[in-house]
Each structure stands twice: as structure tokens, then as C-alpha cells.
Symmetry: C2
Subunit: 218 residues, 2 copies
């Protein structure tokens, strides 16, 4: 018979994985609201963010209860502390998806994105969603190799982020300062979203190995 | 005689407060490097960020040891969990000061900021540094009223941040897209720095009262 304590640890991981899936769905919708100039979808992301915050509060309460009542040590303690960190990261991913949706709503019915940058944001959305779903998987499986894979996937996001600056700084940019400011912030939101997904995966490496992987570039 | 355990809790808070003072100094220097186009100062901030990361690692190790060896409950557990969160926030403040310094270095010997926005960034720097120092004080004193004060001080940063967009979007903006992109990101770094200082103070309210203050606007 599995004991209650081990089940509580597993449930904590499951809450966190579910939270990752929620923010993956949020970013997918936020990106579509941006690309398809869809106000209703933007509103949906904005109103649903509170659920991510609620799940985060549940994760923290459970982690706190485990610490207070079970006094975990070694790997179990690492699981709980990593869940506390992870819940913070994933809540922030939800906030960043929310910011994308807010940008779509702010400019509606105008599109935020000039046509020539739409494909880059479609790709940033795709990479971001994939990273969040992989983070959920890594939380469930504790697969260290898959966790390391997230850092490589994040390189694609960094390249897209850098490329957006090249596009904005190019002499051929004809849309002026306003759209450039929007795009600068939006690209930053996607890049930060990806960084937090990587941070979650790195914490899982720490749970399994007892060591944080090498320094994260910021 | 004070027991070793209470002393360890106090030391953990002291490590975190010291970390706040370090990132206050980092932002002060980074802002000067930006305003005075001072490459040497920018390099100093960039090379010193590793010390903040080291202090964060020390804070986490001590928090982890306290959890494993002392199994704190109630207020003591809240102190340790809040220190874990706080160390993450303050490390991020250091990263954001680093980003400001990196922007100053990237454009050197050109100034990043056109003359007309210099006073706003001087003020954002001043507000940010004051918030980090107040956070240090709140960690040491656990003064809930002072913690609430940080949220009000942060309103000044939010106003400055919003005002920068008004300046950038104005028809009289004559510096083109490149400086607008730099300023958009820099203003965001200062605003996020302030948000993290507020988050640290909110965690102290939680330590003292057992309740997080009302929702933080993001």
C-alpha cells in the first residue's frame, strides 16, 4: 500500500503539471487572439488567469502543509521546495500570456502586429506552448534528459527574440515607433515565458540529482 | 540565552536583507552608468552580479538546512518559505540591474538615452534603489506598515513607466525606432525591479500576519 505522504507528494507534482497545461492553453489562445485579432479570445485569457492564480495558491498551501506536518528530508524536501519555486514560475507564465492577450485587447480592432512579423509570433507562440507542455511532462516523469532538452528548445525562442530586434532596427521598418514598442514588449513576454518553463525543468533536474544544472543565461 | 535555531532564522533574514542592499547598490551604479555613459561603471555592475547569485545560493542552502534539520512550523516556517521566495525575487532584481548596465555597455560610447528622457530614468533609478533599501529594512524590522508603504512607493514607478510610453508615442518623438526599443525595455526593467521589491515586502506581511495582502496588479 502506498502511504498517504507519498501520495501527497505525487499530488503536489500533479497540481504543478496541471498548472503548466493551463498556462500552455492560455498562451495558445493569447497568441491566436493576437494573430487573428480576436477580442473574445483575448477576453477569455484575461478572465481565466485567476484560475491559474488559484491553482498556485493550492500548490503553495499543499507544499506548506507537507513541510509543517511531514517534515520531509532529502529528495522529498527537494520536491516540495521545487514545487514552491515552480508554482511561482508557472504563475508568472500565466501572467505573461495574460499580457499578450491584454496587448491584443488594447489595440482591438486594429491588429497589434504588422503582417511581416506575424509568422515570427506564430512561431514564438508554438515554441512557448511546446515548452510549457514539456515542462508538465518533465514534472510528471522526472526525466532529466527531457529536462535538458527544454534548454535546447529555448534556444529557438532566443533566436526568434533576437531576430525581432533585427527586424525592428532595419531601415525597411515602415510602421514607426508605436508598433515597434508593442512588438518589443510582446517579444519579451514570449522570451520570459520560455525562460520560466526552462526554470521549472531545471528544478526537476535538481530534485532528481540534488544539483542545479549549470548557470542559466539571463 | 538565545537558541541556535532562532539565531539561524535571524541570520537567514540578514542574508536576504544584505542581498537587497547589494542589488540597491547595483541599480544605483547601473543607472549612473546609463545616465553618465560610464562604461567602467557598467562593467563593474556586470562583473559583480555573480556575488548576488552567490548570496542567493547561500540563502537557499541555509533555508534548506533549516527545513531539513529543524522542521520549523507556523511563523518560523513562513519565515523560511518567504526567504526562499524572497531570495528568488532579489536575485531577479540583480539580473534587471545587470540588464540596465548591459544596455549602457552595448551602446557605448553612444548614450542610450536622448537628453529629454534622462530625468525620468534618474527618477526611476532613485525610486528603484529606495524600494530595495526599504525592502531590506522591512526584512530586518518585520514592520507591516512599512511593507505596505512599498506598494504606494511603487505607484510612482508605475506612473513613470506609463509616462515613458506617452513620451515614445508622442508625435514630437524625433529619435526613431532604435532608441524607442531600448527605452521600452529599460523602462520595463525598472518597473519589474520595483515589482520584485514589493513582492519581497508582501512576503514579510505574510510572515507576520499569516495572510498575503490583496492581489498584486501585474
Amino acid at each position: 500500500m502506498r502511504d498517504v505522504y507519498q501520495e501527497q507528494l505525487d499530488q503536489l507534482a500533479e497540481v504543478l503539471a496541471t498548472m503548466c497545461e493551463r498556462v500552455a492553453a492560455a498562451l495558445e489562445k493569447a497568441t491566436r487572439s493576437l494573430l487573428e485579432v480576436d477580442l473574445q479570445l483575448a477576453e477569455q485569457v484575461i478572465s481565466e488567469d485567476v484560475h491559474v492564480d488559484e491553482i498556485r495558491a493550492i500548490a503553495e498551501e499543499r507544499a506548506f502543509a507537507l513541510l509543517a506536518l511531514q517534515a520531509p528530508v532529502a529528495t522529498d524536501l527537494r520536491i516540495v521546495v521545487s514545487a514552491i519555486h515552480g508554482a511561482g514560475d508557472v504563475e508568472r507564465m500565466g501572467d505573461l500570456a495574460l499580457h499578450v492577450a491584454q496587448a491584443a485587447r488594447r489595440r482591438h480592432p486594429q491588429p497589434v502586429l504588422p503582417d511581416e512579423v506575424v509568422p515570427y509570433f506564430a512561431e514564438m507562440g508554438r515554441v512557448g506552448v511546446a515548452l510549457a507542455l514539456k515542462a508538465a511532462e518533465v514534472i510528471r516523469t522526472r526525466d532529466v534528459a527531457a529536462a535538458a532538452q527544454l534548454e535546447e528548445d529555448d534556444d529557438a525562442m532566443d533566436d526568434l527574440h533576437k531576430h525581432m530586434f533585427t527586424v525592428l532596427m532595419d531601415r525597411s521598418w515602415s510602421h514607426g515607433v508605436g508598433p515597434a514598442v508593442d512588438i518589443t514588449l510582446l517579444a519579451r513576454f514570449y522570451e520570459r515565458y520560455a525562460d520560466h518553463a526552462v526554470a521549472v525543468a531545471r528544478r526537476i533536474v535538481y530534485v532528481v540529482t540534488g544539483q542545479m544544472p549549470g548557470p542559466l543565461t539571463v
